[in-house]
Every structure is written in C-alpha cells, then in structure tokens.
Amino acid sequence: MTDRPHRRSPRDLVGGRPDATYTLRFDGRELTAQAGQSIAAVLWGAGILAWRTTRQGGAPRGAFCGIGSCHDCLVTVNGRPNQRACLVPARPGDAVTTQEGTGRADLAV
C-alpha cells in the first residue's frame, strides 16, 4: 500500500474551522494554535513530542496518557511549572518552556 497523494487530516474528518488561530511561544519558537486546543495539542500539531526532561535521567518526555492521569506531559506555562499540557488550554501569547526536572530549581537551598 502506498501513500495517496492527498492525505486526510483530522480537520478533513470533522470539517469546519476554528473560531480563531493565534500564536504562542515554545522555548522562544512561535507556534500556531487553534482556539480550543490544549497546549499538548498545539505542540503535537507542530510535530513536537517532548517538552520535559526527567529528574534523574534527563530523558525527554511529552504527552503519554492524554487524559491527565500520567503527568508525563508536565510543562512550565508562563513561568508556572508542573502544568499538565494535555489539560491546560492554550491561550494567546502563552510562553511555554521545556521543564527540566522538578521545574522548581529556583527554590533549591
């Protein structure tokens, strides 16, 4: 089986168009968001699958369970760490940054 010339997209399947599109920044890079998407959806839409590194191994992680259970998609949004990207709605102008470890290194004494 070969790829067909026109590949369907999720949007083709459900039709319609978003009320608005806007931009947010991920690690300084500008991404386009459709109104109503979660931060994780915006990142997946841009082909980004990882936005956190683990505490011990520094391994990259992103959304896994997609429903808020696994907490693997924790990310820092507008300076606030440990937000579940799969649940938090994207808002115009959000500054999303890769979260390293606990996301609270600033508190270390």
Partner: protein, 389 residues
C-alpha cells in the same frame, strides 16, 4: 521438610525492630528465623518517615536508648548498602515565641546533661540554617545527632545482612510452650522450634503476648503523613515546632499534631505526623490533613503552592507509659519482647536489637533493661478502663 540446623531464636515481626533484633542476634552468633504474616516492613515501619531523633526526648530511659541508637545507626550506615539513605541531617526545633524558647532552653539543658548536642540558634541563624523558614520566629535549637533513614530499605537491608531464615506471609498461630517455657512457634505453614521467641510484632504485639499466655497492653495510635510533589532541596533539616515535644508525651486520645517537615533525597517533602487514638480506623481524616498542611505552610510558606501527591497513615504501637517493652518476660520463660516503640521505632531499633541480643546470649547489656521490663503494667484484669482524658 529438610533438616535444618536448630534455631536459637524465632523473631516475630519483619519490621525494622525485628530486623534489627535479627541483625544483632546474628552478630552475636545466634541462628535466627524471622516470621511475619505480611511482607518486610509491612506494618508501621512501612508507614514511617524514618526519624532518628534524640531532639524530641527528655532526659530519661528513652533518650538513653535513642543516644545508643544514634551511634549504632552511624555504624550501620557504614555497613549497610547506601539504599538505606542514612542522612545525618540534624534536627531543628523552632520556638515560635519567647515563652516557647525559654521552655525549649530548659528542655535542651536537661538533654545536654546526658550527652545530647543542642546548639541554640537565634532568628538570624535560623534563616541561615533554613532559608525558606518563615520569619518572625523567636529562635530554636539545632540537634546535630538527629538523622534520617528510608525505613523500609533499612528493615530490608538489616534482614538481608542478618542472614536470618525468613518466613514471610506466614502468620504465627501459636506460641508453643512446654512446662511453661517457650519452645517455638507454629505458623500457618510450619512449626519452628527454638528456645526463645522475640515478640517484635509492633502494633500487633499484644496479640503475640496473648498467644504466649501473657499480656502486653500495646495500643495503636494513628498518624498521617503528607508527601509533596518532588522538589529540589528546600528543607535541609528535620524541622518542627516546639510543641511537638508535648504531643509525644501526651496521653490524650484526641488528634494532636505538630508537623515535622523534611526533605528527602528522592525529592518529595514529608510532613508528619498527627497522633490520635482511633483504633485501627483506616478512613481519611481531612482534619489531620488540614492541620499538617497548615503547620507546614506556616513554617515554610514556600510549601503553600506545592502539591500534595499522597497522604498515608500508619498505626504506631504505644504502651501506656510511652516506653517500649524490651527484654525477657519473667512471666513466660523464653519469651522476649521488643515492641511498643510508638513513633520512634525506626530510631530505637538498633539499640533494641543490641539489648535483645545481649539478653539472648546472657551478655552484659549496654543499658539497664529495668525501665523497659514487659511486666511493669498492672494485670489487665485489674487495670482500670482507659479514660482517654
């Protein structure tokens, strides 16, 4: 069943106290078996925070035990794998106001007389010791001998190092006697013959005493612990407010709490623990959570925004006079007790193990056993009903 070498002792309980008894019995050349109806550290040990405290004990037999243990834990940290997470981090007791500071000073004076290191810290020094501590505290005392272990690991590694025969998931159904003297135990799977049986069943120690035909009034005292999200090191010591000391010695049945706040190598901050006598009630107490969270956030405002991931509870074994029962039971030859350590079992385990091993081999104990004798309580039949004032 294959023939085994005869056992010298059967230890009932695979918590940290039973494990320490097995460890020091083995060091004394004894062959031990450890029996537990559950897994390793399945009872109070697994619900503990791993406090090794001298700071909260006034001069007296329990402090003697704690000081002996503090030294033994240092030695164990060198002998056991690093997974036990021994941290000689020190305790910091905070006096909210001048009155509390005065009382704390007098308390520390008494402790110093018997060998406790206690260093007074003024408000400025407190901030240096704990940068996130809320300002406005009158002062406090630093206790460098206070330390921390990971309790389940400590119990498991002590047991592994002891080389004792392990029978986990086997409940003791009978303490076997002959002519009034102990000759072993029967479990749900086998009989274990030995001239001595050590009751290290913690909160369930009363039941083992009963099986041996005697009595020990061990009661459960519930405690809740809160566990936060993983954080970098935000709390360096074991930090608690001075009123904690009064709670430990209290006989009240009502909920008491004074949060002990500490960081862990794994990241989460632990906040414990409430003390209440509610039998074996396993339901959640939102009141306990409220008080622990309130006190922790009052000590360390930075914790107010941390998320609590988990709350758990355990049942501390306590005896009416808040001292453990350690040593031979004169009422039943061959029966020894090592239980009733309340919230201090992790800390007091090594000293308890050394005392039990000495009693088993007839060696001179490093501390007098008299204050801990198991038959010091009145006959239960004659005992007045607890009023829980």
């Amino acid at each position: 069943m294959p023939k085994r070498h005869p056992l010298d002792v059967v230890i009932v309980g695979a918590g940290v106290v039973g494990a320490a008894c097995a460890y020091y019995a083995a060091r004394a050349g004894l062959r031990a078996a450890v029996v537990d109806r559950g897994p390793v550290a399945g009872g109070t040990t697994g619900a503990g925070e791993g406090n090794l405290l001298v700071s909260d004990k006034e001069a007296g037999p329990e402090l003697d035990l704690a000081l002996l243990s503090a030294g033994l834990w240092r030695d164990l940290a060198a002998d056991l794998p690093e997974e036990i997470e021994y941290e000689p981090k020190g305790g910091l007791v905070i006096a909210p106001d001048e009155t509390a500071l005065k009382a704390l000073r007098a308390f520390a004076e008494g402790q110093r007389a018997v060998g406790v290191e206690a260093v007074e810290a003024g408000p400025a020094e407190l901030r240096e010791l704990e940068p996130h501590l809320a300002p406005g505290r009158a002062g406090g005392f630093l206790y460098p001998q206070d330390a921390q272990v990971q309790p389940a690991q400590a119990a498991a590694r002590l047991l592994a190092a002891s080389g004792a025969e392990l029978h986990l998931g086997e409940e003791v159904t009978a303490v076997l006697t002959a002519g009034g003297a102990v000759r072993g135990v029967r479990t749900t799977r086998r009989e274990l013959a030995a001239p001595a049986v050590v009751n290290a069943a913690g909160t369930w120690g009363g039941r083992i005493a009963e099986l041996a035909g005697t009595a020990l009034p061990v009661l459960p005292r519930r405690g809740f612990v809160l566990v936060t999200e993983p954080l970098p090191r935000v709390v360096r010591h074991k930090v608690y407010a001075a009123d904690y000391i009064a709670d430990v010695a209290s006989g009240s049945a009502a909920l008491q709490s004074s949060a002990v706040v500490e960081g862990t190598p794994a990241g989460p901050v632990l906040i414990g623990a409430t003390r209440e006598r509610v039998g074996f009630d396993r339901s959640l107490s939102t009141e306990a959570l409220r008080r622990l969270a309130g006190q922790a956030a009052a000590l360390f405002p930075v914790l107010a925004d941390a998320r609590v991931l988990r709350a758990y509870h355990g049942f501390r074994p306590y005896l009416p006079d808040h001292l453990p029962a350690i040593g031979p039971d004169p009422r039943v030859p061959g029966l020894l007790h090592a239980c009733g350590h309340e919230g201090a079992g992790i800390g007091l385990a090594p000293a308890t193990g050394v005392l039990v091993a000495a009693a088993l081999t007839g060696a001179e104990p490093p501390l007098p056993l008299h204050p801990f004798r198991p038959d010091r309580f009145p006959d239960p039949a004659a005992q007045p009903k607890e009023t829980g004032r």
